[in-house]
């Protein structure tokens, strides 16, 4: 079975863990415990193919961000999450994406832009059009989701798997990049 390494990124408190746990375990985590790093595994069927997703739920807290480079290197697909109720979480994503592109050293990285907490329409400060404009600029998929109301949660991960399949078809996945890459350390 093919494995997919997915990394969930975004500022603290936007609902990365809530989305991941909702997808993997089907429950909504009400309590907020800042994540350090958690990994989850879940088997799903996408386009008739069994896939094993290895999802890394990362920290949004500033102090834990020094380790980002490492997991960005290992990740194949990225979920960039902001909360529609906090403008700053939306603004932070630009830097995050640039870091991913820098670490991956390519412009074509499977990615989904996610505006979470869309059940809190009353507290919305980031417009849907802002989100889709940014996604357009990133050239990636855009979804507004709610981990609480189970809106579009599975779609994030299915879309990402399809993107990864498109960019590197399942045939031979044994280090296709080695050789062409030089590392300076």
């Amino acid at each position: 079975m093919r494995e997919y390494k997915i990394v969930v990124l975004g500022s603290g408190g936007v609902g990365k863990s809530a989305l991941t746990v909702q997808f993997v375990q089907g429950i909504f985590v009400e309590k907020y415990d800042p994540t350090i790093e958690d990994s989850y595994r879940k088997q799903v069927e996408v386009d008739g193919q069994q896939c094993m997703l290895e999802i890394l739920d990362t920290a949004g807290t500033e102090q834990f961000t020094a380790m980002r480079d490492l997991y960005m290197k290992n990740g194949q697909g990225f979920v960039l999450v902001y909360s529609i109720t906090a403008q700053s979480t939306f603004n932070d994503l630009q830097d995050l994406r640039e870091q991913i592109l820098r670490v991956k050293d390519t412009d074509n990285v499977p990615m989904v832009l996610v505006g979470n907490k869309c059940d809190l329409e009353d507290e919305r400060v980031v417009g849907k059009d802002q989100g889709s404009t940014l996604a357009h600029q990133f050239g990636c998929t855009f979804l507004e989701t709610s981990a609480k109301a189970k809106i579009n949660v599975n779609d994030i991960f299915y879309d990402l798997v399809q993107q990864i399949n498109k960019i590197s078809p399942a045939t031979k996945q044994k280090k296709p990049k080695s050789g062409s890459k030089c590392t300076l350390l």
């Binding site: 415990d33 958690d38 500033e62 020094a66």
Partner: protein, 851 residues
């Protein structure tokens, strides 16, 4: 005729707003009677409608007899020139005789002129219209147009006859003389008389005013003379004023020229003085001799340096033309020279200070060991901080000097910190294994470690960090709780001890090297993320100074976790507390702790995963009674330790996630192992282990595990019931079978009271079966059952009493059900079993007590 016309107009036609144009006195040709008047009128209002009236004169006045519109006239027969007769064909033909031929001519001429413009004029017979049109009425008739429908519309704006005003005047005059019209001559005479009287009066008054006119003329002559005099005086004045004016104009011109000149001079002066002020640097080359060793001297130097900078920055404000002035160029190059020289001097002075302090501080690392903390370099900071204004100046003026200073500072200070950090960690190691603490179990060498018992069996290789090849000595649970506590205490002190030194250095760097992005320098780039670039720079400098902390800390933790992998749990909690402190949100040390925390979390996850794996891989102990499975007790130990470490810390949720996973694995493992328990029934394994697990979870009181706790309870009850049902079985089997037969009959439709009449279920048969279970036999059976149960159950959980009681209850239930069936199916037969419920209770307690 005009007299009649006037009267007709006034009496007949004024009321109907018509104007009488022509009238002719007529008599009907056929009869000789009183004459009537045939009148031709036109309406005053437009459009003008012309009408022909036949008016009769009676004693009471005029009376309209008949009327026709003019357009209805079809034919007009003039007959002969000198005849008074004429015919008009209206709705029928009328024959009239006029009173005079003149009147007849006038009427015909009128009708002809008016109808000539009509759409369908009447036919005139025997009539030659007068080309001259000099007849009386013709001049009075306006030109009119007659539209198709016969209505008459004016073709121009001209009014008929008199205006209203004239009419009014005329009426007034006529009103004075009632009979004016009749008696015109007398009237005229009277008017002429009045006129002559008025003329006489007029001449009289003209003659009266002559003297007055003469006086007026004299006055006018006088004033003309006066005016001429004034005029000549005015010319005199004017002549003299013209002379003065020329003088004044000249003065004025001179004045304004002088004003311009003085203004220009003022401007020039101002320009020059700003220029001089701008380029002036009063301290001059004296700045080079500044006293950089005293506080006052430094402050003065900073002030001067800023003035110098200001003088040089003036460039932009000085007019480009002025900048070409020789003296300006000269002054500037002089100032630049001073600046460069001063910067060089300052740089070398500070560089010397850095080296000096680097040497002093590196000698003194004893204090940091004695107090077990990384001492801030306060002495150096205090001495250097006074230079921070000069450093800001230097950064803005001579970036090269600034960078080289930064580099020198980093080099000399980094050595000090590196040494101190190393010493601190050394001290920490000593304290952990040290001689001055009651516990000396964890000394630096792993050979001293004793394995007390591990959690979850052999997990060492799994729990180890990736790439760690030396697995010897690794283990868990190899230390007791006081040793563990000691390790955590030292770690806590270490983390605490590092903070002040690093934080004070960070603060110092921020202000001394001015790298917060808030300096005056960065004002030009407001849009660029100066804050993040500033903090990145700060982070880089801090990284150079304290790079060793992270590697030392990681090495330290790896070292001890190799001996006791569960140390990562406490390390995680402690690091979490420090990294997530609000004052550490964006400090360097907070970032370091954060990164190490992420690494510790990974170790923790690996360790926990190894525990889960161990549970998944666990086997049944090779004993006759497996009893409580090892991982159940290990989990108890683990939970006690974990709770003592995590308590209510922020990282508790990380632990609870693994609790859940472990319990899942444990439930699975109990199920799996229960099904291949060999001699021991699976129910017993399940019953004992779920019972223990439930008790343990109740004691733990972890809210996150409530579901699992309930689950354990349910599973325990299921196992207990299953066991009792299976092994207590039916001690009165034949009786049970007998009554099963009875119930089968009943369900086939046999009445309960008639069961006794069935051959197989007769009273005698029942009595025979009952005889097979005398009290003695029953007790014997129970005793052997007890022995069997005793053999199954382990001492671990001592559930024997519980099971025995459950069996007693089961027995009583069975007894009662048989008893009630007997009373229902064999009523009045007085059949009873050979033993009573009291007997049963007695047997059970006797058996339990005898063992």
């Amino acid at each position: 005729m005009s007299g009649a016309k006037f009267e007709l107009q006034k009496e007949v036609f004024e009321g109907s707003k018509e104007r009488l144009h022509g009238v002719v006195g007529v008599t009907k040709t056929s009869r000789k009677k009183k004459p009537s008047f045939l009148c031709l009128t036109g309406s005053i209002e437009r459009p003008i409608r012309f009408t022909i009236y036949l008016v009769k004169q009676t004693e009471k006045g005029f009376k309209r007899k008949q009327e026709w519109t003019l357009s209805s006239l079809k034919e007009a027969n003039y007959k002969a020139k000198d005849s008074l007769d004429f015919d008009l064909l209206l709705e029928k033909s009328y024959h009239w005789t006029a009173t005079s031929t003149e009147d007849k001519d006038v009427l015909f001429s009128l009708i002809y002129q008016i109808t000539a413009r009509m759409h369908r004029p009447p036919k005139f017979i025997n009539y030659q219209p007068d080309e001259e049109g000099d007849s009386e009425g013709a001049s009075n008739i306006p030109i009119v147009a007659v539209p198709k429908d016969g209505q008459m519309v004016d073709s121009d704006e001209e009014e008929f006859g008199l205006t209203e005003r004239e009419e009014f005047d005329l009426e007034k005059v006529l009103g004075r003389a009632e009979n004016a019209v009749v008696n015109a001559e007398a009237f005229m005479e009277q008017l002429a008389k009045e006129l002559s009287i008025l003329d006489g009066e007029n001449i009289h008054s003209i003659m009266d005013s002559e003297t007055q006119v003469n006086v007026l003329m004299e006055r006018i002559d006088e004033s003309i003379v006066q005016l001429e005099k004034i005029e000549s005086e005015l010319t005199d004045y004017e002549d003299s004023v013209v002379v003065v004016q020329a003088a004044v104009e000249k003065i004025e011109e001179e004045n304004s020229q002088m004003g311009t000149a003085s203004k220009n001079q003022q401007l020039l002066l101002k320009e020059l003085s700003t220029l001089i002020e701008a380029l002036d640097f009063s301290a001059g080359s004296n700045i080079l001799n500044s006293d950089l060793s005293s506080k006052e001297g430094i402050e003065k130097a900073a002030r001067d340096a800023n003035l110098l900078k200001k003088a040089l920055d003036m460039d932009e404000e000085i007019h480009p033309a002025l900048q070409k002035m020789h003296s300006v160029v000269h002054q500037r190059s002089r100032l630049e020279k001073i600046r460069d020289k001063f910067a060089k001097g300052l740089t070398s002075h500070l560089a010397k200070l850095f080296i000096h302090h680097g040497n002093i501080s590196s000698v003194d690392n004893v204090s940091s060991i004695n107090h077990f903390r990384l001492s801030p370099l306060n002495l150096m900071h205090n001495e250097l901080i006074v230079y921070s204004d000069l450093m800001i100046w230097l950064k803005s003026v001579e970036m090269d000097c600034y960078s080289s200073l930064l580099q020198k500072y980093t080099m000399s200070t980094q050595k000090v910190y590196e040494r101190n950090v190393k010493a601190l960690f050394e001290e920490a190691r000593v304290r952990i294994s040290g001689n001055n603490t009651p516990s000396s179990r964890i000394s630096g060498s792993s050979t001293d470690l004793r394995i007390r018992g591990k959690f979850f069996g052999k997990t060492r290789s799994l729990a180890n960090r990736e790439g760690d090849t030396e697995s010897q000595g690794s283990g868990e649970g190899s230390v007791d709780s006081s040793e563990r506590q000691h390790f955590y205490d030292v770690l806590e002190q270490l983390l605490e001890g590092l903070e002040p030194g690093v934080n004070s250095e960070e603060k110092f760097i921020t202000s001394f090297f001015n790298v917060d992005g808030s300096s005056s320098l960065n004002t030009s780039s407001v849009i660029s993320p100066s804050k993040s670039s500033g903090s990145a720079e700060l982070r880089r400098i801090m990284g150079n100074l304290f790079g060793s902390i992270e590697s030392e800390l990681v090495a330290f933790l790896v070292h001890y976790e190799k001996m006791e992998s569960s140390f990562c749990m406490g390390a995680m909690v402690r690091l979490g507390n420090h990294a997530l402190k609000s004052e550490n949100t964006s400090t360097y040390i907070g970032m370091i702790y954060g990164s190490v925390l992420v690494q510790e979390k990974r170790s923790f996850d690996r360790l926990m995963n190894s525990y889960v794996q161990a549970i998944n891989d666990s086997r049944l102990p090779r004993k006759t009674k497996p009893g409580i499975l090892p991982f159940i007790t290990e989990f108890e130990d683990f939970a006690v330790m974990a709770e003592s470490i995590f308590g209510n810390s922020a990282r508790r949720s990380d632990l609870e996630k693994w609790y859940v996973k472990m319990l899942c694995a444990m439930f699975d493992a109990i199920m799996r192992l229960a099904s291949d328990g060999g001699k021991t029934p699976g129910e017993v394994i399940r019953m004992e282990n779920y019972h223990r697990l439930h008790a343990n979870l109740s004691q733990l009181k972890v809210a996150a595990l409530d579901v699992q706790k309930k689950d354990a309870k349910t599973k325990y009850n299921e196992a207990l019931n299953g066991y009792v049902t299976k092994y207590f079985g039916r001690p009165l089997n034949k009786l049970n079978e007998f009554f099963e037969g009875v119930q089968a009959k009943v369900s086939q439709g046999v009445k309960e009271s008639e069961i006794g009449y069935q051959m197989a279920f007769s009273r005698a048969e029942l009595k025979r079966v009952i005889k097979e279970y005398p009290a003695k036999e029953v007790k014997k059976g129970l005793e052997s059952l007890y022995k069997k149960v005793e053999k199954h159950l382990s001492e671990d959980e001592s559930l024997l009493q519980v099971v025995w009681r459950a069996m007693q209850e089961e027995f009583i239930v069975q007894y009662k059900s048989i008893e009630s069936l007997i009373s229902r199916c064999y009523p009045g037969a007085k059949i009873t079993l050979e033993f009573t419920i009291e007997d049963i209770l007695l047997f059970f307690s006797e058996i339990a007590q005898s063992h």
